[in-house]
């Protein structure tokens, strides 16, 4: 079990940080109590991980061949990358940190599946774009349906609140299904875990992060979405969930935060307003490059450190 400590920490921090993307707006606006949101998110994350988490695991484990010690190195390297970047208040994507670490170990082994890596990086660039397209479509379709509803302002509020809970739960499901591979895929590749136990352990560690440490992030990060009107906030959560779920089907773990930014841009496009600053866009670009590079470097350093041998002088 000690071998899984790094993975557990990674899953825990992923849950603590990324739950805000699905339930942040509902919690920070007090539409939903934190406890209810956290329980819903935890349940749906585990469900998503167990039911649909295997595709991402297959992709990540196929990037390079690893033994157990290399799997431990790569999971710790990713965990350290996420922690360092969070402490430095830099935007970070767990998916990119994990892939960076796997590539770092792969380069040390001189063994990389380049086509798999190409697919993964292409999907990173496509994540904000996917969030944006999904938001435009969801806004148009849901907006048309919403306008047809014969409900008054009071019922419309209850409808929006209910829809946000449903969309958040779906988002949590997609988060679990998509991101569980980041947590435990390397251990499946090393033959240490079966795919089922990897999805279960990964899902539970993400859920623990949500239940124990996501409150602060949910309340602060959710306020970014609350600047949007309630309907737009619903569109953003739903579009992010759809986008992340689609990448789950393709089998590539992506950043939920970047899908959210894409969705916010999409809402802005429909409404003809600027919703995302250049600085936020700059942060995404920075995260695309800095996170995997740092993950790879830390993995390489840890790999070298693991192979150092004490040679007595003389």
């Amino acid at each position: 079990m000690l071998a899984l400590l790094g993975a557990g920490f990674l899953g825990w921090s992923l849950g603590a940080n990324d739950a805000s993307n699905v339930f942040g707006s509902a919690v920070s606006s007090r539409m939903l109590r934190f406890r209810s949101a956290a329980v819903l998110a935890a349940v749906f994350v585990v469900l998503g991980a167990v039911l649909q988490g295997r595709a991402g695991i297959e992709t990540l484990k196929g990037l390079t061949g690893m033994n157990l010690s290399q799997a431990i190195v790569s999971s710790w390297a990713a965990a350290v990358t996420v922690t360092v970047m969070t402490l430095l208040r830099l935007p970070v994507s767990t998916s990119q940190a994990v892939v960076g670490a796997i590539v770092g170990v792969g380069l040390m082994n001189r063994h990389m599946n380049l086509s798999g890596l190409g697919k993964v990086t292409a999907c990173w660039f496509g994540t904000p774009l996917g969030g944006m397209i999904a938001a435009v479509i969801v806004f148009k379709v849901l907006g048309a349906l919403y306008n047809r509803l014969e409900i008054d302002l009071f019922q419309s509020d209850a409808f929006l609140r209910g829809a946000l809970v449903v969309a958040g739960s779906y988002g949590a499901y997609a988060l679990g299904a998509n991101n569980v591979a980041n947590v435990t895929a390397v251990f499946v590749g090393a033959g240490y875990l079966s795919a089922f136990s990897a999805t279960l352990i990964g899902g539970v560690s993400i859920a623990l992060g949500i239940l124990t440490f996501s409150r602060g992030v949910m309340e602060t990060m959710g306020r970014k979405l609350i600047k949007l009107d309630p309907f737009s906030a619903l569109v953003v959560v739903l579009a992010e969930a759809i986008c992340v779920h689609l990448y789950t089907v393709i089998g590539v773990p992506v950043s939920t935060s970047q899908a959210v930014v894409g969705a916010i841009i999409g809402v802005g496009l429909v409404k003809g307003i600027t919703t995302v600053s250049r600085r936020t866009l700059g942060h995404i670009f920075a995260a695309w490059f800095v996170t995997p590079v740092l993950g790879g470097l830390i993995a390489a350093v840890l790999h070298i450190a693991m192979h150092l041998r004490y040679v007595p002088a003389g």
């Binding site: 007090r30 539409m31 919403y146 008054d152 302002l153």
Partner: protein, 234 residues
């Protein structure tokens, strides 16, 4: 078939109504309170209108005093309902944005009964007497102001039911407000052109200004309602 269809439609509507009450219990409770508040404001307006009519015909009398007290009673009740609404909203009814909108809207509406009460108390406590030469204008000012209040209530109802026509009503209320401004200026000019005692002139000017503020406030409320309706458009 022809006989069955209307019955079936009726049953479906009945079912929808029951389902809405189950799923939107707090919201239904809140809706009932908001409409009760608006009904209470309409009662205040009715009492104010009657009190002013009697005052303009007979001067301050017992009936007028009674109606003034009734206006005060309804105004206090309106405050109580508003408090209940706020408590219910902060007990998680409505989303935060709507809570703030409704709270601020009712605060703004509440200024209207407050001004009506102010006019009646002014007449009662300052033993005001309105000279004949400004009575027709004062009647017109009251009538147009109350018409604006009625339109404002209709506009709020349309906004709450998410129906069209909010902007059109705002335009009419805006026109009424300009009209009231003209009447108010006319009354003040007539008062100051007269040979009345300067102290009486000041009293009558104050009354005309307070009466004019009713349509001003209705106009402010209607603009707020229009913004709330625009914000909710998808």
């Amino acid at each position: 078939m022809v006989m069955i269809r209307p019955v079936a439609v009726g049953v479906v509507h009945e079912f929808e109504g029951v389902m809405l009450k189950i799923f939107f219990k707090k919201e239904e409770e809140l809706k009932a309170l908001v409409y009760e508040y608006l009904k209470n404001v309409a009662n205040i307006e009715a009492h104010f209108s009657k009190a002013m009519e009697i005052f303009l015909e007979q001067g301050m009398c017992d009936d007028c005093g009674f109606l003034t007290e009734q206006t005060h009673k309804h105004e206090s009740r309106a405050d109580d309902i508003r408090e209940e609404i706020n408590l219910l909203m902060y007990g998680k009814a409505l989303i935060p944005e709507s809570r703030e909108d409704i709270m601020r809207l009712l605060e703004a509406v509440d200024e209207i009964p407050r001004r009506m009460e102010l006019v009646l108390y002014m007449i009662q406590t300052q033993k005001l007497a309105v000279p004949d030469f400004i009575i027709p204008d004062t009647r017109e000012l009251i009538q147009v102001s109350l018409q604006s209040c009625d339109l404002m209530a209709k506009q709020i109802d349309l906004m709450l039911r998410k129906k069209d026509g909010v902007k059109e009503l705002m335009d009419t209320i805006d026109q009424n407000e300009s009209h009231c401004d003209h009447i108010e200026r006319r009354i003040i000019s007539k008062v100051f052109d007269s040979n009345l005692d300067p102290f009486e002139k000041m009293q009558l000017k104050e009354m005309a200004v307070y009466l004019g503020e009713i349509s001003d406030q209705a106009d402010r409320v209607s603009k707020r309602v229009n913004i709330i309706a625009i914000k909710r458009r998808v």
